[in-house]
Symmetry: C2
Subunit: 247 residues, 2 copies
């Protein structure tokens, strides 16, 4: 089933010029498909009461640029409709009570599962980031500070670490904006290297939703917008998560 | 200088349809540019005597598929021209005695720098991989086994972790095949999810070298080639590393 599910994504990606390919789409009830409102998705995602550690909070490793921009966006959560997304150790924590469709659900076990962008737990050494999401504008901002464990060329972040950060920001945005669940494609153009320990600001916009796919764009740049680090477009496939208790 | 260097890459990526853009290329002596033979590059890259730990060696976490395919390619290093690339903790170890051009070199310090794909040192939890390179065919094979710290959807590798693994395999291939140094672009189409703990085989080919750029392709699939995980094209910019002692 997993194979079929992603063959769908693959085919959609390859044949996007076709007028319609409904026969390869997963069977979804049109009246209920993607019926969850953004507010309901955000409400479930951003648990009010939880013992889970939120990794998207300031720590001593954050550079001054990251701290001040974090505070600016925190203010905007009070006045301008932005929401600060919590960031738990695993995606399993974000989708408690839900399971992946098409038999993709795996049995829980005692392994130390970690979402890739929280794989390194030593403050400042790996990924430091926080994502703010704007439900009505369907856009996100990610403040990203790569540490020395994310190195590529000496002193600079690995291109792959930025690619993963873009994919993760797309992922959270796609899910909350329209139940986008799986990456279909990423198209990245790199412009400048990000110095380790400095701030990159990722701006993500949902450009359109069509044929069960979300089309998004991302630009990563310095805080003053004078240096563009990379531009990226991403396509995500919409698939509804199922209630664990449902038959 | 860093900015100018990458603006070059950016411009090249954007204006690839232009017949020629020599005015934006770094000034290189045509007689010496990219004159290092692949053999010389490989010889410098694969240190015969070193105290550095090679992370691309089998350990108890490797799955049977990964172990048997590793042994198969190790045999091919004796008979078929393949070379097993060592994998050190930092790219700094791979380019000892050399520095990046255009003022990109950074002062060495006591930080614990790690190449991103070796950021997690606990066996089996993060990236397990080994790259084999064929100098005359200008192709590579990467055996990649993602651990539970590389999770995206529950039980499966994060798309970003595969993107980074592709970028890293491209990177080593581009450098050894033709002094390709920086990623200009990555274009990834995801087809199926990789289960955590299983083997993905990445096949990389250098398709062409043109206008100081290497064009490469990658397919990631299961060992039996029945499941394609992703396909990717990548463009790298050629830039020569300078001898540290040179003026």
């Amino acid at each position: 089933m997993i194979r079929r599910c992603f063959q769908v994504a693959g085919r959609l990606g390859q044949h996007r010029v076709l007028p319609a390919v409904p026969q390869v789409l997963p069977r979804l009830n049109p009246t209920s498909a993607f019926g969850s409102s953004t507010d309901a998705l955000v409400s479930r995602f951003c648990l009010k009461k939880t013992d889970l550690k939120d990794y998207a909070l300031p720590n001593a490793s954050w550079c001054p640029d990251m701290l001040t921009l974090y505070q600016e966006f925190l203010e905007k959560t009070k006045t301008d409709g932005w929401i600060k997304l919590p960031s738990f150790k695993s995606n399993r924590d974000h989708i408690q009570g839900l399971k992946l469709p098409f038999g993709l659900a795996v049995a829980s076990d005692k392994s130390d599962w970690r979402i890739f962008t929280r794989c390194i737990q030593v403050e400042g050494q790996g990924y430091e980031y926080v994502i703010f999401f704007h439900p009505s504008k369907k856009k996100s901002i990610c403040l990203f500070q790569p540490g020395p464990y994310l190195e590529g060329a000496p002193g600079f972040a690995h291109g792959g670490s930025l690619a993963a950060m873009m994919d993760e920001t797309f992922s959270k945005t796609a899910y909350l904006a329209g139940e986008g669940l799986f990456t279909v494609s990423l198209n990245i153009r790199f412009k400048n290297l990000i110095p380790v320990g400095s701030l990159a600001v990722l701006k993500v916009d949902v450009e359109k939703v069509e044929d069960q796919k979300l089309y998004m764009s991302c630009i990563a740049q310095s805080r003053d917008q004078q240096t563009v680090y990379a531009k990226c477009s991403g396509v995500f496939l919409q698939l509804q998560l199922e209630e664990e208790s449902s038959q």
